[in-house]
Assembly symmetry: D2
Homo-oligomer: 326 residues x 4
Amino acid sequence: MAIPAANLYPPVNIVRLSHVEFVVRDLKASRAFYVDTLGLQVTFEDSQMITLRALEERGHHCLILRKGDEPAASHLSFKLFDEKDLYAAQAFFESRGLPVQWIDRPFQSRTLLTSDPHGTPLEFYAKMDRLPPIHQKYGLYKGVKPLRIDHFNFFMSNVDEAVAFYNELGFRTTEYTEDEVTGRLWAAWMHRKGGVHDIAFTNGRGPRLHHVAFWVPTPLNIIDLLDLMATTGYVSNIERGPGRHGLSNAFFLYVRDPDGHRVEFYCSDYQTVDPDLEPLKWSLKDPQRQTLWGAPAPRCWFEEGTPFQGVAIKEPDLKATPIVAP
Amino acid sequence: MAIPAANLYPPVNIVRLSHVEFVVRDLKASRAFYVDTLGLQVTFEDSQMITLRALEERGHHCLILRKGDEPAASHLSFKLFDEKDLYAAQAFFESRGLPVQWIDRPFQSRTLLTSDPHGTPLEFYAKMDRLPPIHQKYGLYKGVKPLRIDHFNFFMSNVDEAVAFYNELGFRTTEYTEDEVTGRLWAAWMHRKGGVHDIAFTNGRGPRLHHVAFWVPTPLNIIDLLDLMATTGYVSNIERGPGRHGLSNAFFLYVRDPDGHRVEFYCSDYQTVDPDLEPLKWSLKDPQRQTLWGAPAPRCWFEEGTPFQGVAIKEPDLKATPIVAP
Amino acid sequence: MAIPAANLYPPVNIVRLSHVEFVVRDLKASRAFYVDTLGLQVTFEDSQMITLRALEERGHHCLILRKGDEPAASHLSFKLFDEKDLYAAQAFFESRGLPVQWIDRPFQSRTLLTSDPHGTPLEFYAKMDRLPPIHQKYGLYKGVKPLRIDHFNFFMSNVDEAVAFYNELGFRTTEYTEDEVTGRLWAAWMHRKGGVHDIAFTNGRGPRLHHVAFWVPTPLNIIDLLDLMATTGYVSNIERGPGRHGLSNAFFLYVRDPDGHRVEFYCSDYQTVDPDLEPLKWSLKDPQRQTLWGAPAPRCWFEEGTPFQGVAIKEPDLKATPIVAP
Amino acid sequence: MAIPAANLYPPVNIVRLSHVEFVVRDLKASRAFYVDTLGLQVTFEDSQMITLRALEERGHHCLILRKGDEPAASHLSFKLFDEKDLYAAQAFFESRGLPVQWIDRPFQSRTLLTSDPHGTPLEFYAKMDRLPPIHQKYGLYKGVKPLRIDHFNFFMSNVDEAVAFYNELGFRTTEYTEDEVTGRLWAAWMHRKGGVHDIAFTNGRGPRLHHVAFWVPTPLNIIDLLDLMATTGYVSNIERGPGRHGLSNAFFLYVRDPDGHRVEFYCSDYQTVDPDLEPLKWSLKDPQRQTLWGAPAPRCWFEEGTPFQGVAIKEPDLKATPIVAP
């Protein structure tokens, strides 16, 4: 199936991905990981929840840690351009027969909760509490010096369908992997905010969250984090990398948090604002698409992910096998 | 005068700055500078003109060098979202009594030539020839490894008026410097593409081009360029830096080309896609706005610039004096 | 077996490792690799031989490529402090019943050819032709920007014996790996010049050269080389890394040349000039000794190496198995 | 006056510079600077004194802060190879009619206190308390990530005489600046440990300490420190840089501590262990010797320094004027 032509006049103006809420079993352990080790900044905390922002963000949070019994992701949240886009979103999802409801969320304006056709829980809002800038308070920078949330990547049982749906909603494909045997999509990267992606899909049991990624200043900050994690008790949380992705050209590292949620640190992809930007195609057989330097990803990276709370998981119908590390 | 509220529904959808044409006296000397030293890639050349692109760009060029007798900038070019925006631009500029004409430019679709109220020559187009990606041909990277054009900065004789005009056109202010004595704007940074700026204005004899900037991967590439220029005959072309700007938080270096055109290398500013992003205000008396580390800019940096071909230059009516290096 | 106490008043004053000669089958292919890709500088070449130096070296060469039929290393060369040390070296090797002969080598003064008790061919000289400095000719820097030769690592069939011998000769142990089951040494790092090592030994079929290493400015230069090799036809020459060694704390990458000779790029180990520097011990069972971040080395890294020309290879009597990548 | 030939068989085996003691007026303010901002590690503190080490050092300290009324440096300390060298040092200094005394210092073995012919207080010892390694405790790294002390630089009223004296003592000159009008030395860099220098002299009112320098991993750590100091109340403590020195080829930054003591951060000079290394000569008229990129040093950098406690200061007889920033 071909990548659909970009929908340049979409029904809803989505500015960017906003945040994800992770259910974690031990807030203290999660705080040690996300705050003390990675360097995210706490913007609110009580006995049930911690909200975090990265260093250049002025919105209240890019990550919510909520205490719970089973590791999961509650929902993926997106910021809309305007209040009017909330109603446009409502209309769009209703017209596809998808469930919508209006909810209250702390720190943000009226919020629409809905889901995509695969069941992925999505949340849309237009205004979140704004905080004073801290990007020039260099005394606060530590860990990997996370600057901003960059993207979500999720497993989808049918990537072709996911791409078609999100394309209609206005996400534009920048790169994709095709299974050349079947002509089906194995993976796709789609953006709103002008980088390689706000969201990406990988073929697999889904919907599940594969990872959330944070933008960091340079590859050296990722090396610093590796040194830090390797010598502060987190060596086994390092999953894959560091390396350069073929897809996106970004420098990357994947780690797992204390509940197994996967987090990527990411920098140096490219600008994608041109509406006539041509999507780049990669073959599923090319290991350089994963890591430009040739190393295949480990099997766990292709198989493990975070379930969405209360959402049924389907087997993918595309059974191709990616190249994995031996 | 206050910064006007962002015009979130502008009359024309400008995607980003596109390119500038420099008139240079010696194409060979300019080629040695821009290609052999900085590392831009030639996409066309003949006896009169060289066109260049940076490494991650797929548009045909971000810089045109045209042989001529007097150093000048011919025009500043911007990419529009759609052909329809060309006519919207025509209507916008005509409604303000500004001159418009349709022109043919090589490598790009129908082009509108006009100017802002100060006389700055502006060009708008929607489609430019697309070239195959080279961002992963690492054998081509050299010099400062320029990735893409980032912004234009120009001297304006009245920054308040410039900001008001470009704000109407849809540019959003991210940061600005105010002369606190008069309440007038000294400088402003305005964007379309989601970084700190596509265009910036500095108070001074204008309109003149202050500099064109290219995005580079990391501060180390700027250090590499300094080492290279310092030992290949270009030491006196280094004008200011390296340093961190207070304004924009970017790491920077300013150099002068063989004709005196100023070029900035720039990285690590921040994402500005939120429509509710609050502009940051700086005082003209604060030297950290220029260089976060405290060093004032040299006087030449505040005074010298590139004239636009055939455009009259006016004295600024704001006579404040910035802090300059002793 | 314990690490012997450092011999602080050795019989011979060895300044540092100097160079290795590799037999290669295709000088043109080797030149494309070492010169065009890695960035070493040619100091002499004819139809049979190319000599190379790194950017901060003023000695004539740190690597000799000699055309031949079978990939091999001819000899490892060391620079002595003084001509008198040549005779001291002669006496030392003769007293141990090892073969010595005086030979002529181009570009260097009178040269002693000998071998260690395992048969490793060693060469000593005091003066080599000196070349004008090029470390500030930044126009010459490319590839990985190699600055100087750093160390040799070789497989030895008995590391305990190798350490005892080289310790007597004045090399000081900085770090070592012990097989805790047998109490035998698995590997050791020994220096003369004030870094972690000039030479290192790894248990294995030997003597064979495991790798020669070059010092590079920062980890980013290693990342640049990975990007370059991955996109210029050398992706399969990338063998291991990038990573941080536990042992030595250095940042590293291992690649293979067109004949399979292994080359390491290395930076950021530590200063070891204190005569009372305590050797650091690592367990063979600890994968962090190899890569601080936890990734085991691939099996080929433990097994493959370059034979010394005409030297018989012995099986190691220590049969411990290191942790290898699955 | 020419640089004397290196004294390759010196009377005393000095391993390296060891530490300096600074008299500071406010230990708390100094601690905030050296520990919280620069990132040195406290190894001892009481109400009168703080001792510090850098991250890769295993000796007890490289810097002593002692409470006192007037900012000063008490003495410069050097580590000897062996106890025997202590007596050799005693003999050497006595033979030149210089004062010697045996003193007790905490954390180090028997110590010789003496001075050079200019009156600079020097201290020699062979053993200092050794501490467990912390170079792989990456949780401790912060600020500029100082790895080790690198060198002392001092003003001397007669650099020719200083070079002659320290050359006899075994320091080897790597680079020097000559006043071409008089043929006199303006400055010289001399080493023991295999880098560009352990000590350097600059013409000026002396003896005074110009600065103490610490080795840091990469230029990016220096940029991080600039960002940190600029936004934590230390912007006016930034004196010169960042830049690349012509002399030494190192990347540098100079800052002033709360008492005005000058500290340099320094990386990427080159290896100098070859006994036949040729000293490099620079002209006093060449601003690139100071900063390869062309920027002259500020006047204060040439004039201000730390007096040695109780040591008379003499005017230099060489009155040449270096190029200074306008």
